[in-house]
């Protein structure tokens, strides 16, 4: 079996997949990639069902494989090169046997992803490969690791996918949460009008957002009964600065939650780098549902949107027709 050798890597590199659902009653949150869309983009670029990738928080590493290896680079764009020659992000490439892939720091966003042909084949714990550091499941990838690779059925490389931009914060859509009504209407309005800056304190559990004015602490906030928590919940501890909870969040908690980010906008929250400006806007359930349907539709359509990196004029006709029929082939792709 082939392995991906980790010659060096940053401190926040982990194997991630779609996480492990079904353990909420035992206190274990689902976890998995903080930017689910990036996993799907990697799978689309490689034309495969595997949804495993190396998630790289801010900084990548140097990697090598003894056999030729297909890779896809998705999520937050990072500086990347193959034996010193620059590589496009949001694209698939073929690494010759023994070549060195070097992935540096992010140039925008927060989490980059390295997907491999065949996916990773690391041991599963409680049904998934993903490290869940908050739960003590697995560990971060380290220099010297040799990560097991699955069998690649092969396919094209040198393909490009224009990724939905989500690297700079912006407007985040939210729904009411369990304690929204504890906040006076005027406070909810002020929350929507406030510009927040993503704090340097952020990880796979959540991201702190610093208000540009007075915080949003609640007088009654310290004695609320602990209730279920879901990814996206905007929890506000006593100091008044909200935390948006992400994939490795706790499963219950007693700090008040003013709202919850809709699932379709979670990749945007996760990818907002430190210093990015963020605003929150309450939306109706209908709008949130439409956004979710759109998100699912976009994911299904990813495979139809990949195009060759090199735009040879002789291929342009094919390219155009490929784009035109993309709506027809999406239904056959895996969700």
């Amino acid at each position: 079996m082939s392995v991906l050798r980790v010659l060096s890597c940053g401190p926040g590199v982990t194997v991630q997949d779609r996480g492990r659902a079904g353990f909420l009653a035992q206190g274990l949150s689902r976890g998995g990639a903080v930017d689910r869309l990036a996993l799907e983009e990697g799978a689309a670029l490689l034309g495969q069902p595997a949804r495993t990738a190396l998630e790289m928080a801010g900084m990548g590493g140097r990697f090598s494989c003894d056999a030729p290896l297909r890779i896809a680079l998705t999520g937050a764009p990072m500086k990347a090169s193959l034996d010193g020659a620059p590589l496009r992000w949001h694209a698939s490439h073929l690494l010759p046997a023994g070549s060195v892939l070097e992935i540096g720091g992010v140039t925008a966003g927060a989490y980059g992803y390295l997907s491999v042909g065949g996916g990773f084949a690391e041991p599963e714990r409680l049904g998934a490969q993903s490290a869940h550091l908050a739960a003590g499941l697995g560990r971060a990838v380290q220099a010297g690791d040799a990560l097991a690779l699955g069998q690649d059925r092969g396919g094209e490389t040198g393909m490009l996918l224009e990724a939905a931009p989500r690297w700079a914060g912006g407007e985040i859509r939210i729904l009411p949460s369990l304690q929204t009504d504890l906040y006076p209407r005027a406070e909810q309005t002020r929350f929507e009008q406030m510009e927040f800056t993503r704090d340097a304190r952020a990880n796979r559990m959540g991201a702190r957002m610093n208000p540009g004015g007075a915080g949003f602490g609640l007088d009654a906030g310290q004695t609320i009964l602990s209730e279920v928590i879901t990814p996206g919940d905007i929890q506000i501890p006593g100091d008044g600065a909200p935390y948006v909870l992400l994939s490795e969040c706790q499963t219950t908690g007693g700090y008040p939650r003013i709202g919850t980010v809709i699932p379709a906008d979670l990749p945007k929250v996760a990818q907002a780098p430190a210093g990015a400006k963020v605003r929150f806007r309450f939306v109706s359930r209908d709008e949130a549902l439409a956004a979710q349907a759109g998100f699912v539709r976009d994911v299904k359509g990813l495979a139809g949107r990949i195009a060759p990196l090199v735009r040879d004029p002789a291929m342009m006709q094919d390219l155009l027709s490929y784009t035109l029929i993309s709506g027809m082939i999406t239904g056959e792709e895996e969700p």
């Binding site: 035992q26 206190g27 274990l28 499941l137 009964l225 879901t230 501890p237 006593g238 100091d239």
Partner: protein, 247 residues
């Protein structure tokens, strides 16, 4: 039905885009906790279409569903119909409950917030140790972190709030207190609860056949032990934890 209608409970609320919460009360009380546990067991048996996962916290049952497949109004109506089938507040506790004993060191540098918590509860440190080490509490919920119990209910004096700021990190096995409840941490984590005791218990063992040690309904005691005994328990795979089945 003996549910008092003026309380507004049980009540069904939506949680984000893909969840519903059946709440049996708004403060922790024993009948409401039993109601939540029994309701979830019944819901799992009924297995309504579109439900992907359910869990309980202290006095509520959470239901996650596929929002593109199920209309929350329909699922809510089905949950409402199940709510009406019996008096959940009179339901029995889960079967197979156990009495679990987990020795703890109170205070010292191992659990540095005992003095602060005792003061908030209006007790001396000695009184606080006596109160906490003699209490028998029940696992009312598993949550926050894997296998991690919320346990209650402590005497009224322990109705102390959480801290306004988070403690950056408490170790695995930390016993913490707030709002008449104890939590025993299964992972190292930030917390707003005050760290009053330290145990050698490992409540989440992912490599084990039974990764999650405690279950809702179990009774738990935390007798005080010396640091020397604690150091020995750390070498013991069970962490000094013992359990007997309750009749």
């Amino acid at each position: 039905m003996t549910i008092p209608s003026d309380t507004g409970f049980p009540r069904i609320d939506s949680v984000g885009l893909d969840g519903l919460l059946v709440r049996f009360g708004e403060t922790l009380d024993e009948p409401a906790n039993r109601a939540a546990l029994a309701f979830r067991a019944a819901l799992e048996r009924a297995g309504p279409d579109g439900v992907e996962e359910c869990s309980t916290s202290l006095v509520s049952c959470y239901v996650r569903f596929d929002p593109l497949a199920v209309a929350p109004e329909d699922l809510s109506a089905r949950l409402g119909a199940l709510v009406k089938t019996q008096d959940w507040y009179a339901a029995a506790l889960p079967e197979g409950r156990r009495l679990v004993t987990i020795p703890a060191v109170y205070g010292t540098d191992l659990a540095p917030q005992l003095a602060e918590a005792a003061a908030a509860a209006g007790m001396s440190e000695e009184e606080a140790i006596t109160s906490l080490s003699q209490a028998q509490v029940r696992v009312t919920a598993i949550g926050f972190a894997p296998g991690q119990p919320y346990m209650g209910t402590l005497p009224e004096a322990w109705n102390i709030p959480r801290q306004t700021a988070l403690t950056p990190q408490v170790p695995v096995g930390a016993l913490v207190v707030a709002i008449r409840q104890l939590v025993l941490f299964s992972v190292s984590t930030p917390t707003g609860w005050r760290h009053v005791g330290q145990t050698a218990a490992r409540l989440f063992q992912p490599e084990s056949e039974t990764p999650f040690l405690l279950r809702p309904g179990d009774e738990v005691r935390f007798p005080a032990v010396s640091r020397a005994v604690f150091e020995r328990m750390k070498e013991d795979p069970s962490g000094g934890l013992t359990a007997e089945v309750l009749a």
